[in-house]
Every structure is written in structure tokens, then in C-alpha cells.
Amino acid sequence: MTAGRSGTVGRPGLVLEVDRSTPPTMFWHGDGFRMERLPVGSRVVYPPEPAVPLSDPTAAIREALENPLGDSKPLSALLRAGMRLTIAFDDVSLPLPPMQAPDVRQQVIEAVLDEAARAGVDDVVLVAALALHRRLTEAELRHVLGDRIYDAFAPTGRLTQHDAEDHDNLIHLGQTDRGEDVELNKRAATSDLLVYVNINLVSMDGGHKSVATGLASYRSLRHHHNTHTMVHSRSFMDPASSELHSSNWRMGRLIRDAGVKIFQIETTLDGRSFPDAYGFLNRREWEWKARDRATFLGAKTALDRLPPRLAQTMMQRTRSPYRLTSVQAGEVEAVHDRTIDVVLNQQRVVVEGQADILTMGLTYLGPYNVNSIMNPVLVACLGLGYFFNSYIGKPLVRQGGVVIMSHPTPWAFDPVHHPSYIDFFERVLTETTDPAEMEAKFEESFATDPWYIHLYRTGNAYHGVHPFYMWYWTAHALDHLGAVIVVGGERRAVRRLGFRSASTMQDALEIASDVVGRDPTLTHLHTPPLLMADVR
């Protein structure tokens, strides 16, 4: 159930055909922007405008908890004194950019804790569902949960972060009928009730993936975070065609059948990714007013002139004014079906036919570099993983076509967050860019490296195997495309990725002509804000 006009969209998405009067198109370019004049006849796919948010999110959350979907009882009926309650929540990779306080997870968890207090539940533990992501810092936890929850739980050790390498606190629940191991956080799996609090920014998120991935170990994750799964997920953003989705669902059902009682709470946000100071980002170029142009010019000039580190810091401080558009609670699959409807309703844009060339501007931020550096591997993952796969039906670019990405792609890594990425870049990509080959030859040594495990468990590092997963995310695109070109990237970093480098969009189009001929069709993905292309 939802309160308010859940997920009601503003103006729908749009496919604009570029003509001579079309103003230049804004491309994200890392911490900055570029204006590109696309060839006449190109198509620009714009996302729908932000959906109308719920008028009373607090009431909507409480209503969802008491009116669950599927065969679940209301939350209040599931809570009793003396029980063990675990509340797991999505980590800092969601939403993007991080939202202005209060974070929606804080709002939901406060409501759940109120219910637990009313029922006299004392044994409550919070778990950040990290999977193999990095641990959150105290500041990040405070931002996600709010000071009140943090101060109530952290000092007593009841605010935890999932540790996929803490073998004493993992439990093997069995294997699916495909032989997939399901190994989970023991506290979560053995609690009387596991409440999972999700933010569903894209259609890959949520559902059984929340628990089956977020609270799992490497032993479990390797069954779907691999090249085979990613190549056979077309796309991994489309649940109906995603092998990643199917594997998580098999695991989720095994978890359910093993007796783990899950109360799933999923939320959707309105797509207002950037604050009013960056209002031009939420508008289409030909609708920019004088203020938008002035803001754009000011932002671009400042970002271009700032030292890269300062520009990065400035952009990383961006907090989105996201607002809640829906909240669903109850049984996992029923909840997720409704959530996916809302997400696709908010993000779907129908596009007729594929193009020879797909262009995209890549931002400073992806799920794995919040408060950090967008290293070259993450650039590849954002473009060829997330954006390329933002489709239903078929890719925006044809088989054998070309993707042109705009990003500075600096040869820069965060040694605290991404230590194994540095070695991956130096050791693995120098030998192969073939996902299957690196999986066979290198994955295990990185996954079991005691130093990476130590940093993952005690610091704020992504797990040693994580860069492999990011590269697997690109596997479908690499399998599908004839070439990948990066505009404005650091040449040696781009070359290390196995891509081609171009100084300007014109140069990139010239290079692309070797692959797709001299009169190609071109589609530009104008995102973020996010969209899902329904390609027919």
C-alpha cells in the first residue's frame, strides 16, 4: 500500500531528433560538462521529469507497514517481546547522489523501531547490507540513519556492517537446484524476523537481491556475479531477461524455504537527482532559461578551472533533493512487483529501433565511488555496465555498433576504498580485458588475498574481488559492441581499458566510422537523471 499519489510522473521521457535548430547537447564529463553538437538526425533520449512525491511520507511508511503486500502480516503483528529482530538496510551505494537528510532509510527504520518498541522488542540489531562493498564511515552511517539511531545502536555494538569474510558469523542455508550455494549473515538468517529496508533507484535493485546479495558471502555471490551470468542478462536492468535476477530469485526462494522470515520494505524516489543550484541538469537544453544558462556557465567555468581534486570534492558534496514516491512493505516478491512497476513507470522511455552509435556522458559518480574517486575501471562499469544496460528489449545500440563515452578517465585510484582496483589495473588489465579469461586466471587469487580481506574487514575497502565484478558488469556490452571510444579521457588509462581515445566528439565519430560506416545513426542517452529505454 502507498499513501499519496505514488510514482505519478511529470512529463514523460522524450526522444528528440536533432535538427539544425537544436541547441548543443549537454554531456556529463566527470566532474564537469561538455556541450556537443550532435549530427543532424541524431536522437537524444531524455528521461521523464521527476515524479510527483508523496505528500506525507511518514504516513505512507506507517500505512505500508500496517498494510503489507502478499501473504505477510502487518509488521506490528510480526513483532513480539523477546524476539530477535534484525533490520538490514541498503548501503552507501544508494541513492545517487546521496540524498539530503533525512535519508529515506532513516525515516523507514525509525518507523520500524517505533513499532518494535511498542511491541517490547529489545533484541534489535541493525546491519548495513554491504555484500562485498566497503564499510561505511561513521559520518556516512549517521547520514543514512540519523544521529538518533546511530547514537542508540552504535555504542552498544548493535549497529553492524555485514562482513562477508566473518566465517563464524555466516550460515550456509543450502544449494539451489542449480547448485548455487546460499550463505548468509548468521544474525540476519537466524533472527525471528529480518526486516530489509531498500531504496530502489534502478530496476536491478531490490526483491530477493536485497538479502541474497546484500547479506551474502563470496561463496554465494560468485554464482551470479560472474561473466556467464552477466553475458546472459540482457539486460541486468530488465528483471524478465536477467540471469542475475533469476539466480537471486532462486536463492531468495531457498532462503524463504529455509525458514528465514523476511519483511521487505522497498522505496522509490522521484528522480530529482540534483538540487536547484544545478537546475539545468533537470531540464532539457532548449528549455533552459537565462538563469539555467548562467548557472551552467558558472558551474562549468568553475569546475573546469578548479584543480581536479577540488572539483571532485565539490561535486561529491552534492546532496540530492530526492523525495519519496512510493513505499511498499510485506512479502518480498509481492512488494518488489509493485516497486518495479513504479520504477519503470517513472523511468521508462520508448525508443524505436537501435542505432549504430550510442553516446553518453558519464558523471563523477557511480554506486562504488561515493565520497571517492571514479577510477578508470569504474568509468567502464558506469558506461558499459549501468548505462548500456539501461534498456528493456534490446540495447540502444546495435550488435557490432559503437559506444562513445565522455569522461576524463583519470589514471587515479583511491587507495583506501579501492586497493585491489589498483592491482587489478596494473596486473590484470595489462594482460587481458577479456572478462572470462580474467575470471578464470585471476579472480580467485584476488578474492582470497589476505591483505584485501583484511582491508575489507577492518578498513573501508571494497573486497579484493570487486573490480572483477565491475568488469563483468561490462561483459554484455563488450560482447555486443564493435568498439568503445572515450572522448576526453586520459589516453593511457583509456588504452589500458582496451578502448579507443578521442579528443573531441568529432574525432570520436570519425574513429567510429571505421566500424559503422560514414553515415551512421546515433542515439544519445541523456542521463542522469536515470531512465530505462524500452527499445522496440
Binding site: I422, D423, E426, R427, S445, P450, W451, H454
Partner: protein, 430 residues
């Protein structure tokens, strides 16, 4: 005959050092080396032969000399004026069909000292205690002694104990590498614990590549990491047996990956069992200390210059630091491998001592042929273009080269530099 001669001239050495410090390379009007017309040296006694130089390499120690960077340690064990060049392939004047390479150390045998010192008696000629005694002027090697001449001339004299007959299957280009490769073999065998261990080689010039090839063929470490500044060096290292190659800034990370050790404050808690420092600079020794494990061994194979190095890790981690100089008779149990790469018996020829040991040169001949080390020779120059040759050698890494040699018998060639056919093709391959 034409010869390149180094004379004792402190102003010239000071000027050369200044040029080197300023990154100007060797040469110039004030260089301590000059091209001169000299008489061929006379054999100083029985058992000595006049050797006509075919090719003579430019070694790092030669460059250090002409750039004024050599340690003053050498002052009492060299004699001026001398003709440099100790990497030599030539033919004995009395038998032009007989090609020989020079075992450059001037040990007791060549100095007419009998009985020999304990080191020479045991086949460790590199450790000879008589290098400034006997019938010859001081000189640790041919190429640093005023009596013998050196390879950077049309001819030199050599004692029969210094000469090794070149196997027919080796070309001149390959044979000129026998001396530096023998040094590489000797260094590789200096740390028996390298067998089946994790080994790092710091530096991939001629010495580093020779050590790499020798380790791969004669020692068989479990894992061999080579740190090389230049891309062509990294490619060559892979061809010669390196399991992992990295740029010099990536050595610590690479050794960490291979050894799966932890780091504390950016320092490895473990590290490689054996590290071969094939550069000999403060930086390379610092790098070696950073990647060697506690109680591990560093073999200093590159000729060092005076350097400031923090030896605290050597003390705190009980690291062994061992020098590896020249050559001699090696432990024969570290046998050659047969052509299919499997461990095999000892090599052919008479390079053995009859007591289970084998000459470094014999092993070097085998290694040069088996590993195709002739490809390391990148260019050859006539003596009258010595400034270009020395500049090329001094910047070999940056210019995609490895070993530069003189060809004293060659006439002056156009400024592009003369490369032997095999050198040209191998340079391209490299």
C-alpha cells in the same frame, strides 16, 4: 692502432661528473676518454696472446668511469692510462680462426703469482687477493690496467687463463655477451635459497636481464618478479622468464601481490625471499630493502656508486646483503636444462673443474644460445664515433636499447649508427 684511452685527470673526471649530474651524459671536450693512436700492447710474458678485438661492449662500470661516477674504492686497483673494454670477443692474433671471449679478471694466474691466493686456488677468481700485485700493474680487470690494453681498441693482450673459446654456434654478437652474462649467472647462483622461492629482480638493463635469464634457466624460482623502468625491458624480461614485470614504481605492489603479504604503513610485512639489485643505486637498494622479507637476502649484482641508504630495515628485519661480482667456478649441481626446458645435465665443453663445479663462462655460453640473448645487443659503433656510442649507452633504456658495443674494426659510418644485421633484427624484435 686506434684506441679509446682513459687518463688520470681529476679536472676531466670532475667535469664528466658535472655533465652526468646535469643529465648531459658522457662525452664532450672535457671527457676523460679520448680517441688516440697507440701502439698495440706487448704480451708481458709467456702464456700471453695478442687478441684482435671484434666487438667490445660498453658496461655500466665503463659508463661510471667515463662519467666520473665511479667509487674511489677503485683508485688503488686500477692503473692509468688504460683502455676500457672488458666485454670482448676477438680472435687470437696467432690463429685468426679461433674466436675467444675474455674472462677479464686479472687474477693470480695472469699475474704470474704461484702459488695462487686461496680464492684463485678454489676457482673464485673474482675474489682474487692479488689484483694489484705480481707482474702486472694494478688492475682488477683487463680494461682497467695500463699493461693489458682493453676491448675499446683494435687489440689487447690476454693471458691464456683468461680466454674462453667461443662455441661455433654463437655469432660474434652473441659471444660479446658472454662476459656480462657470466656475471649474471654468477649473481643468480649467489643465493642458493632462490630456488623454488619468490624472487624479485630490480632493474632490467643488461645485468638485470642476464640475471633474469640465469635464474629462469639454472635456479628455477617459484615466482620471478622483474622491475623494469622501460617497456621494452619488461617485454624482454617476460621472454627471458619473468612471471611478472612491473614499472619501478610498482615493485612493492607486485611483490605484495605475489607473496600475498600484508602491508603496514605502506611497508610489506613479508616480501620476496631473494631480491637481486641489478642497478646498484641508492634508489634500487631502497627498493630492494622495501620488498625483501625478514631474514631474506639481497644480492647486489649491479655495480654500486657511492650512495646514502637507510639500512634500518636491513638491521630490523635481519636481511642479508651479499655482493655478487664477476664469475668463477659455480656449483655444478645447478645444472643446465635440456632444450625442452627440463632440468638436465651439465653443459658440453670443458667448462668444468673436474670437482663438480662449472665455469660461469661455460654456463653463459649455454645461456646466451638457449635464451637468444644476442637480441640484447642493440647497436654497434666504430671507435671514432665513441661519443655517440657512449651517449647511446648512457641513455639505452630511454632509447629502447640494451647493450651498445664497439666494433673497432669497422670504418666510420653515417650518423645513424651502425647495427649489425643480427642486432638490427633483434632490436626490432625487442
Amino acid at each position: 692502432m686506434k684506441a679509446l684511452v682513459v687518463e688520470r685527470s681529476l679536472p676531466r673526471f670532475a667535469a664528466a661528473r658535472l655533465r652526468s649530474t646535469l643529465g648531459m651524459g658522457p662525452g664532450g671536450a672535457v671527457s676523460p676518454v679520448r680517441l688516440a693512436d697507440v701502439d698495440a700492447p706487448r704480451p708481458p710474458g709467456p702464456g700471453w696472446h695478442l687478441v684482435r678485438t671484434i666487438l667490445s661492449g660498453i658496461c655500466g662500470s665503463d659508463l661510471a668511469t667515463v662519467e666520473g661516477r665511479s667509487s674511489r674504492w677503485f683508485e688503488p686497483i686500477v692503473s692509468f692510462p688504460f683502455v676500457p673494454g672488458h666485454e670482448v670477443v676477438g680472435h687470437v692474433d696467432s690463429d685468426p680462426s679461433d674466436r675467444v671471449v675474455l674472462e677479464a679478471v686479472l687474477s693470480c694466474a695472469s699475474r704470474g703469482i704461484d702459488p695462487p691466493c686461496a680464492a684463485c686456488a678454489s676457482g673464485r677468481v673474482g675474489n682474487c687477493e692479488s689484483i694489484s700485485l705480481g707482474a702486472l700493474s694494478p688492475g682488477l680487470q683487463t680494461g682497467f690496467c695500463c699493461d693489458t690494453g682493453g676491448g675499446w681498441a683494435g687489440a689487447l693482450v690476454a693471458h691464456e687463463s683468461q680466454l674462453h673459446r667461443v662455441p661455433d654456434e654463437l655469432s660474434d654478437t652473441e659471444a660479446v655477451l658472454a662476459e656480462p652474462v657470466a656475471c649474471g649467472v654468477h649473481a643468480a647462483l649467489a643465493a642458493p635459497e632462490a630456488e623454488a622461492a619468490t624472487v624479485a629482480v630490480v632493474g632490467a638493463g643488461t645485468v638485470g636481464l642476464a640475471v633474469t635469464a640465469a635464474l629462469h634457466r639454472f635456479v628455477r624460482p617459484a615466482s620471478l618478479v622483474v622491475s623494469a623502468r622501460h617497456t621494452h625491458q619488461q617485454k624482454l624480461a617476460v621472454h627471458l622468464g619473468a612471471d611478472v614485470t612491473v614499472g619501478s614504481e610498482g615493485t612493492v605492489a607486485a611483490v605484495r601481490r605475489v607473496t600475498r603479504t600484508m602491508t603496514v604503513g605502506g611497508r610489506l610485512t613479508g616480501g620476496a625471499d631473494v631480491v637481486y639489485d641489478c642497478v646498484g643505486s641508492a634508489q634500487s637498494l631502497h627498493e630492494s630493502l622495501a620488498v625483501v622479507r625478514p631474514r631474506g637476502t639481497i644480492v647486489l649484482a649491479g655495480m654500486p656508486s657511492p650512495a646514502r641508504v637507510d639500512l634500518t630495515p636491513l638491521w630490523q628485519r635481519e636481511v642479508k646483503l651479499a655482493g655478487a661480482y664477476a664469475y668463477g667456478l659455480e656449483d655444478r649441481t645447478r645444472g643446465a636444462r635440456s632444450g625442452d626446458g627440463r632440468p638436465g645435465g651439465v653443459g658440453s665443453g670443458d667448462g668444468g673443474s673436474g670437482d663438480g663445479r662449472r665455469s660461469s663462462f661455460d654456463m653463459a655460453f649455454e645461456l646466451v644460445a638457449a635464451a637468444g640473448l644476442g637480441r640484447l645487443v642493440s647497436a654497434s659503433y666504430p671507435l671514432d664515433r665513441h661519443e655517440e656510442a657512449l651517449a647511446h649507452a648512457s641513455s639505452a633504456g630511454r632509447r629502447g636499447a640494451v647493450k651498445i658495443v664497439f666494433e673497432p674494426g669497422a670504418r666510420r659510418t653515417p650518423p645513424s649508427g651502425r647495427q649489425s644485421r643480427s642486432a638490427q633484427s633483434r632490436a626490432r624484435e625487442a
